[in-house]
Amino acid sequence: MVESAAVTASLAPARPLGALAAASRVLPAARLTALGDAARLVFRGREAAIGPAGEAFGVALPREACRFNAGNGRFAFWLGPDEWLLLAPGAEPAPLFAAIEAATAGLPHSLVDVSARSVGIELAGDKAAFVLNQGNPLDLSLDAFPVGMCTRTVFHKAEIVLVRHAPDVFHIDVWRSFAPYVWELLEDARRELA
């Protein structure tokens, strides 16, 4: 088995935001960060499988619409009444996948590894919500979109998962082929500020 540095490098995950992030201006009112690799699993299942899946993941799957639970640096995002996105930044998906499969064996469900499907962007700062609203029609006031909320929505013509970690900190998860589109439109909105 041949394993050279060149081969390893060519198999390294493509980073669709690498060049854009390197050229991004620093703007404290709306800081833009391309987030690193993460394990992402989509779990769908009926009642019996939901509890065991959360236990195996280490974070209970939230039952309230458009809310997430967090723990040990991992996140369980409610996407639909029987659908969750499980996110573990920096983790390998395979062991997580195996653990959840073991815990839900025999219980009707589906579990899909979508780690390579999307990339994460963090938008933080006083003007984060203002920048998002240039391409997202949701009411992002804290009453309507509180800390702890997550949802699929749109940013211009791209579908995103939008998460509010803190009043001024948003996480955007976007399919990787749409990521440069979303990033550049976020940059465009930031130009309003400085």
């Binding site: 458009c66 996407l79 639909g80 009444p81 029609p137 949802t151 699929r152 929505t153 749109v154």
Partner: protein
């Protein structure tokens, strides 16, 4: 922008939704027992009312779920929305639609 209330997610902007046609149309249990005219009626003929219309919508850029809505086809006003599988609410055209 038109606001549509998803039964799961609450009030959301219309760009997150897709229209799904008239609601409460059940596929015939035994299609081969139908005449061509009856089958064509199931496939193609819709009520197309002027006024309240029960119709399917999908919160495609949200929770992804299909649900039903009662919408006034004259004013485009959404009188109510309800989960798929629930009965059509007993509301007549005069009780809504003009707001």
């Amino acid at each position: 922008m038109l606001i549509i209330t998803c039964p799961w997610c609450g009030a959301r902007p219309e760009v997150e939704f897709r229209y799904g046609g008239e609601a409460h149309i059940a596929r015939p249990a035994d299609p081969s027992a139908l005449t061509d005219a009856e089958w064509a009626d199931f496939l193609y003929n819709r009520t197309n009312p002027k006024g309240l219309h029960a119709e399917r919508w999908r919160h495609i850029h949200g929770c992804g779920r299909y649900f039903n809505a009662l919408r006034d086809t004259v004013s485009d006003f959404f009188v109510t929305t309800y989960k798929a599988g629930e009965k059509r609410p007993d509301i007549d055209a005069s009780s809504g639609g003009s707001k």
